[in-house]
């Protein structure tokens, strides 16, 4: 986040900001310019991914890639292997076979924290907020390279000054992020008391505090009420304009069709189809896989 201008309030004096009212044009043009200068890269490449659990094959040779700055959707019926794919990418599971590349580096089998520190973070299907920590503590946990994570620095009188000054800087970023997600009014409550939707927002905001390049969202809308859902999707779009890449697992076809420019359909552990919303809608295999479900 630190080198990102972010939706700061400084240029709009006397504004009690809601991000909707913010004029995002400046960011837009910056992103567009950047896009013109550099061709869109492929940060995430999944190749022949396979994961077996004691004889059951959850992911069966899935291959796909995600373009930089895109909002890519990953859909599929229950048990298609979406969450397992996420877990394999982020190091929660070690794949049985296949390769995951992030920015050209083979990250297969890395520990979850190693993956996260390379700029690839995730949220979870069931939000994993830290219940007995306040929203602020949750947020403050996330930033990387905090000096005070060393006991010695936190304890030693002279060195603690650096810890404090860094924390003061991070605190500002955290409050900005909380305002962006409209969570600032509950900043000091324990995360365990939040509603389901607020937890989802907090998890995403927290993931962004790690200053990632790419975010994997595992059903970020599950259990979120329609008003909040709109808001969350709006946030995702805004962030994408800021240059983040999203891979987005969602159950609701309509949402994916409406919001994602690129869609990957998984079925029985394999990638069944890929393409834009129209390609997917007209793909017979997809229609068959979703037999009984409303695709169009």
């Amino acid at each position: 986040m630190s080198d990102e201008p972010g939706p700061a309030t400084t240029n709009i004096p006397d504004d009690v900001e809601t991000p909707d009212e913010l004029d995002p044009e400046s960011h837009d043009s910056a992103v567009e310019e950047a896009a013109k200068r550099t061709p869109r890269g492929i940060p995430l490449r999944v190749d022949g991914l396979r994961k077996e659990f004691g004889g059951i094959t959850a992911v069966d040779g899935a291959s796909f890639q995600v373009e930089a700055g895109s909002l890519t959707g990953l859909i599929g019926p229950n048990g298609a292997g979406k969450s397992t794919t996420f877990n394999c990418i982020t190091g929660v599971h070690t794949p049985t076979a296949g390769q995951v590349q992030f920015n050209g580096e083979n990250i297969t089998g890395l520990e979850p924290h190693e993956v996260a520190n390379r700029g690839l973070v995730r949220t979870f299907q069931i939000a994993r907020e830290l219940e007995e920590m306040t929203v602020l503590e949750n947020m403050m946990l996330a930033p990387k390279h905090q000096r005070g994570e060393s006991v010695v620095r936190s304890v030693t009188p002279g060195l603690r000054r650096d810890v404090v000054s860094q924390e003061e800087e991070l605190r500002e970023e955290v409050w900005e992020m909380l305002e962006f997600f409209e969570l600032d009014h509950i900043a000091e409550v324990e995360a365990g008391t939040l509603s389901g939707g607020q937890r989802k927002l907090l998890e995403m905001a927290r993931a962004l505090m790690t200053d990632p390049e790419m975010v994997l969202l595992d059903e970020p809308l599950a259990g979120v009420n329609p008003t909040l859902e709109e808001k969350l999707l709006e946030r995702i779009h805004e962030l994408r304009e800021d240059g983040y890449t999203f891979l987005f697992v969602e159950h609701d076809m309509d949402i994916i069709m409406e919001h994602c420019e690129h869609i990957i359909v998984m079925h029985q552990g394999k990638v069944l189809a890929e393409g834009g919303a129209d390609d997917i809608r007209n793909n017979e295999a997809v229609v068959e896989a979703y037999l009984g479900e409303d695709v169009s």
Partner: protein
């Protein structure tokens, strides 16, 4: 690039190395054992070990192992079905031992000795003269009472302590069980006193030499009771509906997770089986340890029972029995190489090795996270 795979592979390699070293060590010890029996000296291995001594270790290890195994079945079931490590399980054994001994004393000495001192297992052991050959009815009734009382205790404790905590996490239940352990242990101390006492008739238990080992009647009793109990458990788990359900639940935590919280009926069955076996094991522990009894006995065995359960794989009934035998025999056989006071640490060490390299145990499919 390489860092990725190296950590994962490194861990894997370390685990394999650990297993290899452990197995290698075991093979080396076996060769050494043979060399000692043959009375040959080869560099660091070899030495002198009488065959009868070896047989004695194996035999006492076997009886201890049977007791640990039976106690382990109950611990394993509560561990997997109720999802917590019951630190009071050892004290269930103690209560079984005291209640059984008390009943046996009353039957054996009624009319000739003061009732109060019989109930409190306080009368001189030589006066009561209890043994399976002298007073078979008393010994058998003692066993029955130890089982019944401990079942009652297990169910009562479940009602008061664990039932209100059904949806608590495992560590909270574990802590509560430490509280239960304190209560049971010191209740036993309050009622029966803290002194260690002899229970069975001294020097009156007949024994016969088998392969150089003096096999006494109480050890044979333990063997018979344990085998019968194991057969009964086997039939219960294979033939009855509740037994099959328990086995499925215990063997497979995923199933447990899918089907949700076990029914109260199954929980009751788990406590009945687990506590009953604990009571019987406690009573047999008294018989095996030369008929002595102290309020700390079950508690001192607890870690060995845990070791057995972990070796066998948490949730595996048969695993607990095999684990018990392994732990019992290991703790005795270790004395070939280490001084007597290290028998227990060696058994703990075996458990630690399993925790590290095969936390799912010999028979278990239970994952670690």
């Amino acid at each position: 690039m390489g860092a990725s795979a190296t950590t994962a592979r490194g861990r894997d390699l370390l685990a394999r190395l650990g297993v290899a070293v452990t197995l290698g060590g075991a093979v080396l010890l076996l060769i050494d054992l043979l060399a000692q029996l043959a009375r040959v000296d080869l560099w660091i291995i070899g030495g002198e070990l009488a065959f009868s001594q070896l047989m004695n270790y194996l035999w006492t290890g076997l009886t201890l192992g049977l007791i640990i195994g039976l106690a382990g079945v109950g611990l394993s079931l509560t561990y997997s079905i109720l999802n917590f490590a019951n630190f009071a399980h050892g004290d269930y054994l103690t209560l079984g031992a005291f209640s059984g001994s008390s009943a046996a004393y009353v039957i054996a000495g009624l009319g000739t000795i003061d009732l109060a001192s019989l109930i409190l297992v306080d009368a001189p052991a030589s006066d009561v003269g209890m043994s399976v050959t002298n007073t078979p009815v008393a010994v058998v009734m003692g066993l029955v009472v130890s089982i019944v009382v401990t079942i009652g205790l297990g169910l009562a404790l479940d009602r008061v302590v664990y039932k209100p905590m059904r949806n608590f996490e495992g560590i909270s239940l574990l802590i509560a069980s430490i509280g239960v352990a304190f209560i049971l242990r010191y209740l036993a101390a309050l009622i029966f006193g803290t002194g260690r006492r002899g229970v069975t008739a001294p020097n009156e238990i007949p024994s016969i030499p088998v392969l150089g080992v003096n096999v006494n009647a109480h050890q044979v009793t333990i063997l018979v009771v344990a085998v019968v109990a194991m057969l009964a458990i086997h039939l219960l788990l294979q033939r009855t509906k509740i037994g099959k359900a328990m086995r499925a639940m215990a063997d497979n935590r995923d199933l447990a997770r899918i089907t949700g919280i076990p029914t109260e009926r199954m929980i009751t069955a788990t406590w009945v089986l687990g506590s009953g076996l604990a009571g019987a094991s406690g009573y047999m522990l008294m018989l095996s340890s030369g008929g002595t009894l102290g309020f700390n006995d079950g508690y001192l065995l607890l870690l060995l029972i845990f070791a057995a359960v972990i070796l066998g794989g948490i949730g595996s009934v048969y695993g607990a029995i095999v684990g018990g035998l392994l732990i019992g025999i290991t703790s005795r056989l270790a004395l070939v190489w280490v001084p007597g006071e290290f028998g227990r640490p060696v058994a703990f060490g075996l458990m630690i090795l399993f925790l590290l390299f095969r936390p799912s145990g010999l028979f278990g499919g239970v994952e670690t996270a």
